[in-house]
């Protein structure tokens, strides 16, 4: 007797698994939002929850918005610091004036309104230069430690949004140091998330240039800090 082939019943359909909700981009990257509130909300997000902010940051695509963010936010702190220097006595300049008194060019350390205005005008240009060179150095270091998984644009975006830390320069006298520390922390967290790398590699990528190339600057700042405290205690 011929056997009749009965096909097996089709497998049941897989259970419905809802797609994970799409993560909303940071407000500044949402073109539907008005720029000023989006800028303020983005700054708040990076200050209050940097990990979430970097998770919501796109790692590729148009870099116009991140650059504009960096130029705006990264200029505010230094410009306010320049304005401070016009009205507040700066101990660093006082030390430099004493050290180089009578030497050619020492007038550079006698702050004038013209010098302050010069500094304010050139801050945005310095921000652009610093972004490109800073991102390049950090990305090369990230490649050297084996953590560059998302390309240079991701690093550039992280460096752009890490300039949120420059806002700390609005704090008189110690604002520069605070801003440096804040930017370094933001860059570490941003690289870790954007490049899907380990915390150690992100830390190494940010601190290698500080340790290797900028060891002179760090030692100079420490020496200057000690001198300032010495003067203040006198």
């Amino acid at each position: 007797m011929d056997q009749v082939f009965i096909p097996p019943p089709p497998p049941p359909p897989p259970p419905f698994v809802p797609a994970p909700p799409a993560v909303a981009p940071i407000p500044w990257e949402d073109p539907s939002r008005p720029p000023a509130p989006a800028l303020i909300e983005t700054v708040k997000l990076f200050v209050t929850d940097m990990a979430q902010a970097f998770r919501r940051m796109p790692v590729a695509g148009d870099i116009g918005r991140p650059l504009l963010y960096a130029v705006i936010v990264g200029s505010i702190g230094p410009i306010i610091a320049q304005v401070y220097s016009l009205f507040l006595p700066n101990p660093i300049y006082r030390i430099l004036q004493e050290r180089f008194a009578g030497q050619a060019g020492s007038a550079l350390f006698h702050r004038s309104a013209a010098a302050g205005v010069f500094g304010i005008v050139f801050v945005p240009m310095a921000v652009v230069i610093g972004l490109f060179i800073g991102a390049g150095i950090v990305h090369v270091c990230l490649m050297m430690v084996g953590g560059a998984n998302s390309g240079f644009v991701a690093t550039l975006r992280v460096v752009c949004y890490a300039s949120t830390g420059q806002l700390a320069q609005v704090v008189p006298l110690i604002g520069g140091l605070l801003a440096f520390v804040f930017v370094v922390i933001l860059e570490m967290k941003g690289l870790e998330i954007a490049h899907r790398t380990t915390t150690g590699k992100a830390i190494a990528a940010v601190l290698i240039p500080v340790a290797v190339c900028c060891v002179c600057v760090v030692l100079f700042v420490v020496t200057l800090g000690a001198a300032i405290f010495g003067m203040l205690n006198r």
């Binding site: 870099i63 180089f100 030497q103 550079l108 240009m125 430690v145 060891v215 100079f220």
Partner: protein, 133 residues
């Protein structure tokens, strides 16, 4: 290695390179005045040895004068990187505007290549130490 037309963000990066190099050249006029006030290298003051970046200011000043020989003498690594940055900054915007092809992917940073890069940097530092810059 394969090549393709640059994407939007790559053209933006090339334009940014040009802007950064142009900014450096524009602000470069102030460097000779500022350079005399830069402190001596604290690392060298403390240890007696030059750091990797010792001589970079002299290199920048020499490059601004167009004296490539003096720049290479002061810090070869900084001279090569500085020249590459400026020359690349001139070419990069043209590359972006003309949409010339770019590599499809950069070479992977394999452990071997990373080791070579680290060895190169250490060699550059050793060269500075050996010459007593």
């Amino acid at each position: 290695m394969t090549f393709r037309a640059p994407r939007l963000e790559e053209r933006q990066v090339l334009l940014l390179w040009g802007a950064a190099a142009g900014g450096v050249l524009l602000l470069g006029w102030a460097l000779p005045g500022l350079a005399r006030f830069l402190p001596r290298c604290p690392f060298k003051e403390l240890t007696g040895l030059p750091c990797l970046s010792c001589g970079s200011t002299r290199t920048a000043l020499a490059l601004l004068r167009g004296d490539v020989g003096a720049a290479l003498q002061a810090n070869p690594l900084a001279a090569v990187l500085g020249t590459g940055f400026v020359v690349g900054g001139v070419l990069a915007p043209l590359w972006a505007v003309l949409r010339l092809p770019v590599p499809d992917a950069l070479p992977a940073a394999t452990p071997g290549r990373r080791a070579v890069a680290v060895a190169f940097l250490l060699a550059a530092w050793g060269w500075q130490i050996a010459r007593g810059i």
